[in-house]
């Protein structure tokens, strides 16, 4: 299925993804050319430390915008330090990422307001950002992370939506970021998305409760399909490089399989595959998807393009927009801003018509 299995370093040094998510090019060059005695993890965690120091200096000098930027870039450096390691580094990097983002949040423009939502025996930690100059109430997009992406990484995409007059809400659900310690990957991500929605619809002064959409990237695309299929309060749905089911996982790269094992809290890969296959299957509920839905997929994604056919086969009650990029890799990270702008424009249009 795959043409070539990348080395860990090749899989981690995904230039399109890291740059489009906001890491400076200078850091990628430095990571590539680093002393071979310095591990990938240590390199990026050291960058995170530097950026935190720069953020603190900016605060001391009264430069709040710059401080917010450095704390956020530091958070991204910690993210990409840990995102494909599965020992104690994972947790250390995740904690560092979350901590730095918490520091960045009030300094971002517009700020990200932290929201804690109790559910079962745990808490959903999320962030709401509202465009400053738009007339309220405004529409809102709920943004979902994926297998190793979390609420902190959608910042640049949020900015695209915010300048189009759309508020954004991000959070960690089962198997993700700050929730992983309490709840592993599960088959009911939609319940967490609905819990978020229960909260958002109460913010009637700020948000237009009948204009809330959902967008997810990679595994988050799967979650977006599930969430919109199960909760028809979502008025628009975007699956950005997502998929329908995981009956087979031979196409996955070795480190990605390790990632599945990690987020399912499995003792071995065999167990992980069974758990993933059982939890990740939206076919039984996809007929419930009734809102307009946008599917972006790169034809050169290792996640098979046949997933798009499955969306068409099972989502029989939704108006689908299918956007296939012939040269796109996973999530079309290699194609620059065009696919992201198309998704942002489509979602903004659907939520404001």
């Amino acid at each position: 299925m795959t043409q070539q299995t990348p080395t860990p370093e090749q899989e981690m040094l995904n230039w399109g993804r890291l740059l489009m998510d906001g890491l400076p090019f200078a850091d990628l060059i430095a990571a590539r050319d680093r002393d071979p005695g310095i591990t990938w993890f240590d390199f990026w965690m050291s960058r995170a430390d530097s950026y935190e120091t720069m953020g603190e200096a900016a605060i001391a000098d009264g430069h709040a915008h710059t401080a917010g930027y450095w704390f956020w870039v530091g958070s991204m450096a910690a993210q990409y330090a840990q995102f494909l390691w599965f020992d104690e580094r994972r947790q250390e990097g995740q904690l560092r990422k979350a901590t730095l983002y918490h520091r960045a949040a009030p300094l971002l423009n517009p700020p990200a307001a932290r929201v804690d939502l109790p559910i079962d025996d745990t808490t959903i930690i999320g962030y709401l950002r509202v465009p400053t100059d738009a007339e309220r109430p405004v529409p809102c997009a709920v943004l979902l992370g994926g297998l190793e992406s979390t609420k902190e990484e959608s910042y640049l995409f949020e900015n695209l939506l915010l300048e189009r007059g759309i508020a954004t809400f991000t959070f960690d659900g089962p198997g993700q970021g700050e929730m992983l310690q309490d709840v592993a990957l599960s088959d009911d991500y939609d319940r967490y998305a609905s819990r978020v929605l229960d909260h958002l619809v109460t913010l009637t002064d700020t948000l237009a409760s009948d204009r809330i959409g959902v967008l997810g990237r990679s595994l988050g695309g799967h979650y977006a399909l599930r969430s919109a299929a199960k909760d028809n309060r979502f008025r628009a749905c975007v699956s950005w490089g997502g998929f329908v089911q995981m009956d087979d996982w031979d196409f996955e790269y070795p480190m990605t399989k390790q990632s599945w094992k990690y987020v399912t809290n499995s003792p071995d890969l065999e167990t992980a595959q069974i758990r993933v296959r059982n939890a990740i299957d939206v076919r039984p509920v996809l007929a419930g998807l009734t809102c307009p839905t946008y599917i972006l997929h790169g034809a050169k994604d290792e996640t098979p393009i046949t997933e798009v056919d499955q969306v068409k086969e099972y989502a029989t009650n939704a108006q689908l927009v299918i956007d296939i990029e012939p040269e796109g890799d996973h999530c079309c990270h290699n194609l620059g801003p065009a696919p992201r702008l198309r998704m942002a424009d489509w979602l903004a249009t659907e939520l404001t018509r």
Copy 2:
């Protein structure tokens, strides 16, 4: 003086500069890996065409933000198509750049309002951008292009200032962009900057006339020093990789020498060097510089770091902040966002204290 003379392709494919000025990474990869039968110029002009088409499609679909972005990126593609060619391609690319930016301007956020200012027998074409959510009147920064950079390329730097509450004004002066056909490089750039200032101080509802600064990049840094030295209405000055004089030009790369020849409208390099040496010398007036002044220089810039010593020697009446980056190349383009953020914060602080 130089360690290595770059090939034309190496000089043009300046990753740090092109990325920090906003060209998508995917385009740089495509430029590097293009069919050898396609010239650098044709590759980028074709990208400009594609981006214009995408901008038009976005307008047709009602996506004004996206249209503005594509027209602007198209303008940048045309800029970097032509910036180091000196035959008819130069003028063709310049015209394309200006035309695409004119289309982008009203769609940018905040918009860039075109201003035409008569001077002598020609017209200064400039653009004013004003932060939308700041209380007026706001401070303003006048941004100056350099040897092959023009009013269109400062967009991302403008955004840094705008989010810090500072309006921006960019224009083409002698030897630059849309003015080059009328006026070649000259020794009185400051007169054009003062003409701009004469206009800006009349906009009393919008701009705080006693809080206007000037910043220039590369040769624009030289112009900034000259402009602030000759017109003490400028309250702060930034020289971003600038220089004081051009008595010697052995350090310049071959294509940069061609660029000097082009903007001085010289028949040969010998004539060009004489004209440049005569026109580009701020030492005689630098004692007139009295406003706070920030000097950024990369120690690995081919423009000698001794230029900083000359600023110190001649600018005896200004409070200087000297910021030398040991690993910085020309304008520190290779270092990512940090130097740009420092300049933006310093300038915003000086203009709001």
